[in-house]
């Protein structure tokens, strides 16, 4: 039986900088999204800044797409990146919901 070998496609030399910068921005923008969401919920920022937070999540998604395309990720990894992006979108909502419920149960 011949086993199928996994082969990585070469990355173009001019793409490395874009890959590193976009990969870093994934977490920087993701951090801004989560930070703005949490700050609005605890009253440190005004409510109108929330769309700005979601704007940062869209930028996060774009950076993931850019990074993945230039790296030539395979289908499986591309799906993993989509799952990670959706996870990041839902994470602060889920955490805030749980935190808030526990606060309410214990303080009111």
């Amino acid at each position: 039986m011949v086993q199928e070998a996994l082969i990585l496609q070469d990355i173009h030399i001019d793409d490395f900088l874009t890959i590193f910068v976009s990969a870093s921005l994934v977490l920087v923008f993701g951090g801004f999204y989560v930070g703005i969401y949490a700050a609005v919920k605890v009253g440190l920022l005004k409510k109108w800044t929330m769309p700005l937070g979601y704007g940062f999540w869209i930028l996060t998604g774009y950076c993931l797409y850019l990074m993945g395309s230039l790296m030539h990720v395979n289908d499986f990894t591309a799906k993993a990146l989509v799952v990670a992006a959706i996870g990041l979108l839902l994470l602060p909502h889920a955490v805030y919901y749980m935190q808030d419920r526990v606060h309410e149960e214990n303080e009111h």
Partner: protein, 474 residues
């Protein structure tokens, strides 16, 4: 410093652990400076303390001081969390001296003997040869005995006293922490098999059990320093445990890309590595959320004063949330996929990530614990920062960040020249290191290392003197 305000033997023992941890922390930085100087001046201490020896002590001291500070942190919080004195404290004190003696002997052997013949005597008495875990086998066994005693103290106290959520998590986590160490103690002459198990210790420690440990310490800190609600903090801790273990355990796959393991590890490593930053982002929200909530509640009552009862420690705790996100998250994520890791593996990128991740995730919060101990030891109700604490924090954090940026630039040159252009050849390796950007990166790393070391000296001065300052509330 007097121990007048310490009411339990457990907290006194914790201060012993913190003191020795601080000494080894200094040794770590000193030997790091030696190794950094050797990149700039290769003849420096040649055949006296060669690069291989300086680097080995630098890295081993890092692990050891953190383990000491972690054990000290547990002894510090045990009486607070359980409401009783640590069970078997006499054993704890005895094991402390055994551990200190073992570490001193190991370091002296590293420095004075350095290398031995390629046989079992070297493995047993000089150096086991596994990066990060070079301790000879007799010391390995000694460490296991010490940690078993420590775990007995933790379990016996947790079962006798009040077992809070933090204690329960620590009990489970410390068992895994100790158990995983055993995976790095076997012997095999197959390097792939050896590396496979060795990564269980290195990866599963730093990206699973140590992360859970700092989650527990952060929970304790938020309760003691800003009065965060225990139920909220502990619920959050369980979420962190689930997320950290859920992504961290199989995240080990990103170390199995190139060591001879099957190719399915590419997929496993890529998937779980993509998820690994999520708990780090979540930990960041946790601190922000609790701080904002507590400060908001205080201000709603018309009180403008800060809710923080230990400013220097809380600063380090906040830096932990930020540094963990930056060092483990950002610097880890950009070279974690196999497609790009093929080029970055073994370059200074790894070193940049290692420096900022270890510092951001662990050193910061453990320094925070040093300040909590100083506060407790001096009976201070609200501890304010001093000029020295501000200088120390700025210089250490700025220095490590500077080193990271310098190493990243050097690593980028290696990726382009040594890997992408010259295909990881022998000539490519040397051409990459001969480039001006690499050389200047190494120069700046040394400069920033010196800044970090000066910051450390100021930190020690501050830890020794801040308790006597008059501007605290007592």
């Amino acid at each position: 410093m007097a121990n007048n305000y310490l009411t339990t033997e457990s907290k006194k023992l914790a201060t012993w652990y913190f003191t020795f941890a601080a000494i080894i922390f200094g040794a770590q930085l000193l030997f790091g400076l030696v190794a950094a100087t050797q990149y700039v001046m290769p003849g420096f201490l040649f055949e006296i303390v060669d690069f291989s020896v300086a680097r080995m002590i630098h890295i081993n001291a890092l692990i050891v001081w953190m383990v000491f500070a972690m054990m000290g942190s547990v002894y510090w919080l045990l009486p607070d969390e359980t409401g009783i004195e640590t069970v078997g404290i006499g054993l704890g004190k005895l094991l402390y001296w055994v551990f200190v003696a073992a570490i001193v002997v190991v370091v002296l052997v590293y420095l004075l003997v350095q290398v031995g013949p390629a046989d079992q005597t070297t493995i047993w008495f000089i150096n086991e040869g596994r990066e990060y875990l070079e301790a000879p086998r007799w010391a390995d066994i000694g460490i296991v005995v010490v940690v078993l005693g420590f775990i007995y103290n933790l379990y016996a106290t947790g079962m006798k006293g009040n077992r809070s959520g933090i204690i329960t998590v620590l009990m489970a986590d410390m068992l895994a922490f100790a158990g995983i160490y055993l995976a790095g103690m076997g012997y095999t002459d197959n390097i792939s098999v050896d590396q496979y198990w060795w990564w269980w210790v290195i990866h599963l420690w730093v990206e699973a059990t140590w992360e859970v440990f700092v989650g527990s310490i952060a929970a304790y800190g938020l309760i003691t320093m800003i009065g965060a609600h225990r139920k909220v903090v502990e619920m959050w801790l369980w979420i962190e445990v689930a997320m950290l273990f859920g992504s961290g355990i199989l995240g080990i796959g990103h170390h199995y890309f190139w060591i001879g393991t099957p190719e399915y590890w590419w997929e496993i490593g890529a998937l779980f590595s993509a998820l690994e930053p999520l708990p780090l982002v979540a930990m960041f929200i946790h601190v922000l959320y609790d701080w904002g909530k507590q400060q908001g509640a205080q201000e709603a009552q018309g009180k403008e004063v800060s809710v923080i009862t230990n400013k220097p420690a809380f600063t380090w705790f906040v830096l932990q949330a930020f540094g963990n996100f930056l060092g483990a998250g950002v610097w880890g994520f950009f070279h974690t996929f196999p497609q790009v890791n093929l080029y970055t593996h073994g370059t200074q990128f790894t070193s940049a990530h290692g420096h900022l991740a270890f510092f951001g995730a662990y050193a910061t919060i453990l320094i925070g614990m040093f300040y909590l101990a100083v506060q407790g030891k001096n009976g201070i109700k609200v501890m304010h920062a001093t000029k020295k604490s501000i200088w120390a924090t700025s210089m250490i954090f700025g220095g490590v960040l500077g080193m990271t940026v310098a190493l990243t630039l050097a690593g980028y040159v290696q990726v382009l020249v040594s890997r992408a252009q010259m295909g990881a050849t022998w000539a490519g390796y040397f051409d990459g290191q001969a480039g001006i950007w690499f050389a200047q990166g190494m120069d700046w790393r040394l400069v920033m290392g010196v800044v970090t070391f000066i910051g450390f000296i100021i930190l020690i001065q501050d830890l020794l003197s801040i308790g006597k300052a008059a501007h605290h509330e007592r």
